[in-house]
Each structure stands twice: as C-alpha cells, then as structure tokens.
C-alpha cells in the first residue's frame, strides 16, 4: 500500500506540510529562558507555546497537545516534578515526551523525574547546540524554508 501523501498544493498555498508542524511547550518561570528558547527555535518550522509554571504548563499541554515539553524544575505555584506527575496521570497527554532544563542537579530529583519517564535532563547553563540535538532526537525539526517536496501519487 502506498501511504505517501497525495495532495498537491498550488505554489501560493500554505506550505503543504504545515499540518505536521511540531509544537513545543516551554515551561519555565523565567521569561528570559522562555524567550531564549523561542529565539533558538525561530529558524525552525515549529510552533512554540509557553507556560510560566507547572499549573499553566499543564493547562497549555491539555489545550495544545504539544509534541514535546521543555520543563524547568524550580517554579512557583507548581514545580516541574508535580506537573510531570499530573501529566503522566492524564491519558490525553501522558505520553508527551519531556526534556528537563533546569539549574537543579540534585540526584534525588534527577532519579524522580527519570522514573516519570523524562527523555533527557539538561542542567543550566546549557549550550543551544546540545539542546537542539536532544530535541532533534525526539521530534523532526526542519529549518524554515526547507519544506519537503510533495510526492505525487504514482
């Protein structure tokens, strides 16, 4: 069976693969880090949504169904571990991959989030190249303007 996409869009239309654009949710109480991540990702075909603490992150995750969550640990209202626990209990979003990005390196916390199935754990300060490489292991990040060609049905 040929599962290739058969729709052919006119040249002026919305990019044909726009429906596949991945969505990344960044959850950090620091606006600086959220801006930094948005800036890092702006050259890729990815939609970035944000949350300022675990509670906002959970609400946004339920609403937006992101392809990946980049999550801080130390946050007011609800910390990253609590958000992760609630995320894993919600059948709608429980399988969302999560990368922790935090200044916290306490082994007890690393072991707790590892049990909650985080895909990676990066300690701040972080190198953008390293974080991008970790993201690309989980979701496909296409540079903007590099849209894969539509393959016509044979």
């Amino acid at each position: 069976m040929d599962l290739r996409i058969t729709a052919i869009q006119p040249k002026s239309a919305i990019p044909p693969f726009s429906f596949m654009t991945p969505k990344i949710l960044t959850v950090d109480d620091s606006k600086t880090i959220r801006l930094l991540l948005a800036r890092m990702l702006r050259s890729f075909q990815v939609e970035v949504v944000e949350g300022g603490n675990g509670e906002e992150g959970l609400e946004t995750a339920l609403r937006e169904k992101p392809s990946l969550i980049i999550l801080d640990y130390n946050m007011p209202v609800m910390d990253g571990v609590m958000m992760l626990q609630q995320l894993r209990q919600n059948t709608e979003i429980q399988s969302t991959p999560v990368i922790m990005l935090t200044a916290e390196s306490n082994p007890k916390i690393i072991s707790t989030v590892a049990r909650l199935g985080v895909r990676d754990y990066i300690v701040k300060p972080f190198q953008e190249d390293l974080l991008l490489a970790k993201i690309k292991k989980i979701i496909s990040l296409e540079p903007k303007g590099n849209i894969p060609p539509v393959v016509p049905a044979s």
């Binding site: 600086t32 930094l36 306490n106």
Partner: protein
C-alpha cells in the same frame, strides 16, 4: 560548613566563569586582577536559597543594572523579543543567579554536600542599602568580579539548620 574557604572560593570562581562563558559568551575576571571597572547604580540584588538536611545557604549576586542590560542584549539579541523593561531585567538577573546557584550546588554536591535550590528573589537596591547590608552580613565567601567594564559581587552564606 566543613569546606575550607579556599575550596568555596574556587567553587564560586568556577561557577561564575562557567555560566558567563557557556551561556553568555562573556569572560569574568577577579577584581583583584588589576582591571578597571565601575559598579554603577542601581544594583539588582538576586538571591537563591539552597538547603540540605542540616545546612541552609544563600547564593547572592549584586549586579549593576547596566551589566544586566548588556547581558540581556547578548542573550536575547536586538530582535522584537528583546525590548528590555525593568521587569525583564529583574528576570534576567534572577536567571543569572539561578544558573550560578545551580553550578554552586552541583560543585557542592561533588564535595558531598547535596542540597536543593529555591526560586530566585530579585530586588533593586541603591548604594546605601548595599553598604549597610554588606556591613551586617557575615559571608563565607565574598568576591568582587569584573565583566567588561562593570564590577559586580558574588557572596555565599551558609549556616547550620536547624540552628
């Protein structure tokens, strides 16, 4: 706190230099190195609490607002996202302290002292407040540092808990 002062000085130096180099691509040198710099006011005072089972601590950084603004530009560029208000500068100062405290905590853990961090608290202080506070507080480590043409300080305070 069983760590010798010399070890704590080394932890402070390594933490600052790693964060500034890795995250901001900026070099930091000790103010004792003979470089000339000015502090400038107002100062953004950022504190991050650290606690273990029997020890409480604070990582405290006094950063001139102008230095924080310069770091913001390095960090966020000059695009549409980069309009830096005073609230944003406090956020940037808090994140700098958070990262430095994170490195301090990691290096303390390598010395057998495992603790967890709190969220940063930032406020603006003037010259009088800074001088009054520095005369009242006893710190285990206090260092004056230079980044570019700006001078700033880092202090580490620890005390037994429960006291």
């Amino acid at each position: 706190m069983d760590l010798p002062t010399q070890k704590l000085d080394e932890i402070a130096r390594q933490s600052l230099q790693e964060v500034f180099r890795k995250q901001f691509c900026l070099e930091v040198v000790s103010a004792d190195s003979g470089h000339r710099a000015s502090s400038g006011y107002p100062i953004l005072k950022s504190e991050v609490g650290w606690s273990s089972e029997n020890l409480r601590g604070v990582v405290q950084i006094h950063l001139p607002q102008d230095l924080v603004r310069e770091i913001s530009m390095v960090l966020l560029g000059d695009g549409p996202h980069a309009s830096v208000s005073s609230v944003d500068l406090k956020d940037v100062a808090g994140e700098i302290a958070n990262m430095v405290a994170g490195r301090v905590s990691t290096l303390l853990a390598q010395e057998g002292l495992h603790g967890t961090l709190e969220t940063p608290k930032v406020r603006t202080v003037n010259r009088e407040e800074t001088e009054k506070e520095s005369s009242e507080v006893t710190t285990l480590h206090h260092g004056e540092w230079i980044c570019g043409l700006r001078q700033f300080s880092l202090s580490l305070q620890f005390h037994p808990f429960p006291s």
